[in-house]
């Protein structure tokens, strides 16, 4: 098929589709007067167009109308939006629960730490007495030292305890931070318990 035939087919196509301009119509009319093949082609394309329109219309004309399809889609979209909101709400609830758990956990943690540091006062013999700091007038005079893990005493910022045995002997016990009992450094005079 050469370019002339393409041009002619385009013009005939435009004619059957109702898209031809007056100038093009004049050109085509002149061609149709002299070209019997063009006239035959015009008839074929007219027939083809008519049948094709019917065939395509038969295929696509059924089914839901635009309004029906749109309404269904709109409702479907509204439902999915509502579901999205619910899902978001669920996530929010989860986040809130997580935050509450975290706060509760932190609260318990700090309460436990605070409880561990709270001073416990001895009220009598046989109890462990803990103090946050050694009294200034405390001296090592009346207390038997326990030397664990070497000949040199270890000095450190630790809790210490005074233990009075049932027989009346006093022991200075260093804090049990690492599960060890160490000797503590102290100054001053022991205060009577």
């Amino acid at each position: 098929m050469n370019e002339t035939n393409d041009w002619l087919e385009i013009l005939i196509g435009k004619l059957v589709d109702g898209e031809i301009s007056p100038a093009e119509r004049k050109l085509l009319d002149r061609e149709l007067e002299t070209n019997c093949q063009a006239r035959e082609l015009l008839e074929q394309l007219r027939s083809l167009r008519q049948q094709s329109c019917q065939a395509v219309a038969a295929e696509v004309s059924g089914g839901a109308s635009a309004e029906e399809a749109f309404e269904r889609a709109w409702q479907q979209n509204s439902k999915s939006t509502y579901r999205r909101v619910l899902r978001f709400d669920g996530r929010m609830r989860f986040a809130m629960g997580l935050a509450a758990g975290l706060i509760l956990g932190l609260g318990l943690h700090f309460a436990a730490v605070w409880g561990a540091k709270a001073p416990v006062q001895s009220s009598g013999t046989g109890e462990v007495v803990a103090r946050e700091s050694a009294p200034a007038d405390m001296t090592p005079g009346g207390i038997r030292r326990v030397n664990v893990g070497g000949s040199h005493p270890v000095t450190g910022e630790v809790d210490w305890y005074v233990y009075t045995s049932p027989s009346g002997e006093q022991y200075l016990v260093e804090g049990v931070r690492e599960g060890l009992v160490k000797t503590a450094d102290y100054r001053g005079k022991p205060r009577p318990m």
Partner: protein, 196 residues
């Protein structure tokens, strides 16, 4: 046509602002060719409604992404094509385009009195069979041209090609269908496609 385009642009803007009625009017106006386009890509009239429903849903949810309201038709065509492709992926059958293109019995369709013109029905069936064998770009333009909804300029806009390209595709699609219907083998198709 310019007025229609301007109106559609205004409607598209309104739809982007959440105007349900504007969106409905837009879809209603473009429904005819949209069905034709989906049909031409899907090549299956049975699932046309399902895909069109998905297209509507997609348009509702994605209208805010339309950057050029004056090109609503081209955007709609792109959305429709994407939905058809998604539909393909969802389907379990392979090579649907060639094997599942079912030609409905025209007596069940909207031809009023098919028994009076059996030859015509047979011819319609042959045309649809021929359309089935067209390459997609020719099938699209052929079906769009025969929905009778769009002008050449509008078809070019929907297909997102220059008008001359659209015209050449239409001529070649018709030639191929015509040759198939009358029993010729169109050996020029490959050359024509290369020439375009």
């Amino acid at each position: 046509m310019e007025t229609t385009g301007q109106n559609e642009s205004a409607l598209a803007c309104a739809a982007q602002r959440g105007d349900k009625e504007a969106l409905q009017v837009l879809l209603k106006r473009n429904w005819g060719w949209l069905k034709g386009l989906v049909y031409s890509v899907l090549a299956d009239a049975q699932e046309l409604d399902d895909v069109l429903q998905e297209v509507c849903l997609r348009v509702i949810t994605r209208i805010h992404t339309l950057r050029e309201p004056e090109r609503f038709r081209a955007w709609l065509a792109t959305v429709a094509r994407r939905e058809v492709l998604k539909h393909y992926r969802r389907r379990t059958h392979q090579d649907v385009r060639n094997s599942k293109f079912e030609i409905r019995n025209l007596s069940e369709a909207n031809i009023r009195d098919p028994l009076q013109d059996v030859e015509k029905s047979e011819l319609c069936g042959r045309i649809l069979e021929a359309v089935k064998t067209l390459p997609e770009k020719y099938r699209e333009v052929f079906v769009l041209a025969h929905t009778g909804e769009l002008t050449y300029a509008e078809m070019a806009e929907v297909l997102d090609v220059p008008m001359t390209t659209m015209q050449i595709r239409l001529v070649r699609a018709r030639r191929m269908v015509q040759n198939q219907v009358i029993g010729k083998t169109d050996i020029r198709c490959t050359n024509d496609e290369r020439d375009e």
